[in-house]
């Protein structure tokens, strides 16, 4: 039998396809279709935060040691951070699998 990839049945779907749980978009992982990801070379990084400023998905945040790290749950792999980095400290590498 063919695999059914539906996540809800027509009999159990909400009225008018409403989303009835407020704020549940936080549960939705949006970075799972990325084709490449940013890799930081800490030797070159000067902690300027340009990646954090330019990231269109606001997925960068500063860690305790002052570097900026991208959240892979949300990173789409657009490469803007790598493009903006003044020290070429970010390299985009292909996602595997």
């Amino acid at each position: 039998m063919a695999i059914n990839d539906a996540i809800i049945g027509w009999k159990t779907i909400t009225f008018g396809c409403d989303v009835v749980e407020p704020g549940n978009s936080a549960n939705f992982r949006t970075g799972d279709w990325r084709s490449q990801r940013p890799v930081l070379d800490k030797e070159k990084c000067i902690k300027c935060g340009m990646c954090w400023i330019f990231c269109p998905d606001m997925c960068y945040s500063q860690t305790d040691d002052g570097y900026f790290e991208a959240d892979m749950e949300y990173c789409k792999g657009c490469g803007i951070c790598a493009h903006q980095c003044p020290k070429d400290a970010i390299t985009m590498v292909p996602e595997e699998g």
Binding site: D5, A6, I7, I8, G9, W10, K11, I13, F15, G16, C17, D18, V19, V20, P22
Partner: protein
């Protein structure tokens, strides 16, 4: 019961909307629907109806405002025609799957080009698959009655779907007919206050109209399909109660001298009155003919239609719509599907008539029936025929 008075059908329709106590009316004028929303604007401005009248910048905006107003819990009415209805098209698919009930009267008109303000059914056939419940009125009284019925059905919690009442542009919308408007008390008794199953409320947040990913979309559409099919029961019950209260009885299909008729003419809308005159004349001439009119177009009443035509040998189906390149008009195609591979089903012949305001006369109906009977003996080359078209 109210008094029977001579009144323009558009004005009577607007009065029916007032009696139904519409609360939000987003509207944009377009011929031949204008008199309806114009009169409603007057009614609201005069303080006769406590409603929000929104003079929007386009039909696209009108339908968008309708969706928002229903989502906020209001009883909503609008009206459109032809190009205006098509400008709404993008939005029309939305309230139906989102289960936002509202009532729209479409004063049916041809689609450009060439520019035509006159009557046929091409505008609504463009919107055939929007998932709204759709009825077609034959005369002014029925237009009023179907509007009241539409509010009752659309807002029923088991249905909660938008509904269109089709009235023929000009031939219905602009004629003065004897119409009986019920009293406010009678209408209040027939149409209970709108109690939506859910509405936009900051205390209980919901997202209406979210993205339907591939893992959800099919199920959302199938749920909608089941709801519109099951709305049949509510539609019938509301007509039954209408008959008890107001004394006028309505059914999904209407038969006129069709019992035992060999050849049955199939029509929708106001041309059916001329068709009845044609049937009377042909009966007088000794022909065994009858008429079946489709009142409920969506959900299509296949069961009732088969029952009304079960003894017929030939069906002559009239479409007031010419879809270029199609095998035949939409009503003809629908009925061929209804009878497909059913043993003993009638032979179905499809005709296109009355485009862009061209009159369909008694003689034309006679011609259609004669042709259908000939074609039953000798199969025609084409799957449909345009009636009354001039060659040179």
């Amino acid at each position: 019961m109210g008094k029977r008075i001579g009144v323009e059908v558009s004005i009577a329709v607007a009065d029916a909307v007032k009696l139904a106590r519409a609360e939000v009316i987003p509207a944009y004028p377009i011929t031949p629907q204008t008199h309806i929303v114009e009169h409603l604007a007057e009614i609201v401005a005069n303080g006769e109806l406590d409603a929000e009248y929104i003079p929007v910048e386009s039909e696209h905006a009108a339908m968008s405002a309708c969706c928002g107003a229903v989502a906020a819990g209001a009883r909503v009415f609008t009206s459109s025609s032809s190009q205006g209805l098509s400008l709404m098209s993008e939005i029309l698919y939305i309230p139906s799957t989102m289960r936002l009930p509202m009532v729209m009267v479409v004063a049916n008109r041809a689609m450009s080009a060439p520019i035509s303000i006159w009557n046929d059914h091409q505008d609504i056939m463009v919107q055939r698959d929007i998932g709204w419940i759709q009825t077609f009125a034959e005369n002014g009284q029925e237009a009023v009655d179907l509007v009241l019925h539409a509010f009752r059905v659309a807002e029923d919690r088991k249905v909660s779907l938008p509904m269109i009442v089709n009235i023929d542009g000009f031939t219905l919308s602009h004629v003065i007919e004897p119409i009986e408007l019920p009293t406010q008390e009678e209408v209040d008794d027939y149409i209970p206050p709108f109690k939506p199953k859910r509405k936009l409320d900051p205390r209980k947040p919901v997202t209406m109209g979210p993205v339907g990913i591939p893992e959800v979309y099919t199920e959302a559409k199938v749920a909608h399909d089941h709801v519109i099919k099951n709305s049949r029961k509510v539609i019938l019950k509301a007509w039954k109660e209408f008959a008890e209260k107001f004394g006028r009885e309505y059914h999904p299909v209407e038969s006129y001298k069709a019992e035992g008729a060999d050849t049955i003419l199939v029509t929708m809308g106001s041309i059916s009155e001329t068709a009845m005159t044609a049937i009377d004349k042909m009966r007088d001439d000794g022909k065994n003919v009858g008429l079946v009119r489709i009142r409920l177009w969506r959900p299509f009443p296949a069961q009732e239609f088969r029952a009304a035509t079960k003894h017929a040998k030939v069906l002559a189906v009239i479409d007031r719509c010419l879809p270029p390149g199609a095998v035949c008009g939409p009503v003809g195609a629908e009925l061929r599907s209804v009878f497909y591979k059913i043993p003993g089903s009638p032979k179905i012949f499809s005709f296109v008539a009355g485009l862009g305001g061209r009159d369909v006369t008694v003689e034309r109906f006679e011609e259609i029936i004669d042709k259908a009977e000939q074609y039953a003996k000798r199969r025609p080359k084409e799957l449909y025929e345009v009636i009354g078209v001039r060659e040179k």
